[in-house]
Amino acid sequence: MKRKLPWVLLTVFLTIMVAGLLLGEYKTVLEKAVTVCLDCIGIG
């Protein structure tokens, strides 16, 4: 069972990731990433 757990986790998380991509979350992350994050640099 212990050796199966990583595969189960990998399958579950890949499914979650694909679901996020299908919901258009890549674009959301991209929009944030290509804008200067004022919080990150201490100006926000």
């Binding site: 998380f13 990150c40 640099i41 201490g42």
Partner: protein
């Protein structure tokens, strides 16, 4: 030593070169440094398995901690307008990476971990970080990355990226300082928060010089997430109790000061594999996809390998 033991090889002795190359690879868009801007290519939505600020001028990908905080911070607003954005992409990415290699990206990929290791080489008296402090990273993860961005929102339902805003020294070092130097439009905006983060960065740098990778061990929420997978990932560390003499050479060489023989897959281990090389008795090995490797030189010397 069987055929099964000879398959997977990690270039342990050259790890610093891999760290340097990957740090450069994650921040490869060097023209941005001359313009005082950040890279804005379409690939930047790809998450990277490292704490690498996406406001670093040359960053090629998205910091997963920044991205997941943004998801949490916008969740209530998105729900209020029936927008289906839950942060599944980033959460799935983190879980998928963790399921395969656990915390290995901390030891091999993360530029901020590499910076800490370099600064620690400065010859000064060194201080061991108290072990209990390693639990603090879970507090940071639970509060600054998850709870506060979700719970404290403005009148429109937007939260803030609390970890990025108040703590993250990687953002200050990789983005805050260069952008304020390079971009004159940003300079008038510098205020209390900027000086707070600069002060915090200075304190962290002092700590990096004195202790081994203290940010990774005590603060980093990304390390906290990946570390949770160490016990259940495809990549696994193993210690042969019969060969281990408890000489503590692995502990002395470990960049995060763990005794791997006590718990080979502890969430604190960044899987740099230095201990595999350090162990003179071949007691420490690692497995990936059913294949195992111990130190290369030991394999050559072993009568059983011929």
């Amino acid at each position: 030593m069987g055929e099964k033991d000879q398959a997977v090889r990690m270039p342990r002795e050259k790890r610093a070169w891999y760290q340097a190359a990957l740090a450069l690879g994650l921040n490869a868009w060097l023209p941005s440094w001359f313009k005082g801007e950040i890279f804005q290519g379409g690939v930047k939505g790809v998450c990277v398995p490292a704490l690498n600020c996406y406001s670093c001028p040359s960053a090629m990908g998205a910091c997963p901690i920044g991205a997941i905080q943004t998801s949490f911070a916008g969740l209530r607003f998105n729900l209020s307008i029936a927008e289906k954005k839950f942060g599944l992409y980033v959460a799935g990415f983190l879980g998928a990476v963790g399921s395969v290699v656990g915390r290995m990206p901390c030891g091999w990929v993360c530029p901020f971990g590499f910076i800490q290791e370099l600064l620690h080489k400065i010859p000064t008296p060194k201080v061991r970080m108290p072990r209990f402090m390693s639990y603090f990273r879970y507090v940071v993860l639970a509060t600054m990355v998850v709870a506060l961005p979700l719970l404290i929102v403005d009148q429109f339902g937007f939260g803030q990226t609390w970890f990025c805003k108040w703590i993250c020294p990687a953002g200050t070092l990789e983005a805050g300082i260069p952008l304020v130097i390079l971009n004159t439009d940003l300079r008038p905006l510098v205020g209390f928060m900027y000086y707070w983060k600069i002060g915090l960065l200075v304190l962290f740098i002092g700590w990096f010089i004195l202790s081994r990778r203290p940010f990774c061990r005590a603060v980093c929420p990304l390390g906290a997430i990946f570390g949770l997978f160490n016990k259940a990932s495809l990549f696994r560390m193993a210690v042969d109790d019969e060969k281990c003499t408890l000489c503590d050479q692995c502990y002395k060489d470990c960049p995060v000061e763990i005794k791997i023989y006590e718990s080979p897959n502890t969430p604190d281990c960044v899987r740099c594999l230095k201990c595999v090389s350090s162990c003179k008795f071949g007691a420490i090995s690692y497995e990936f996809l059913g294949k195992r490797e111990v130190a290369r030189d030991l394999r050559v010397k072993s009568p059983a390998s011929s």
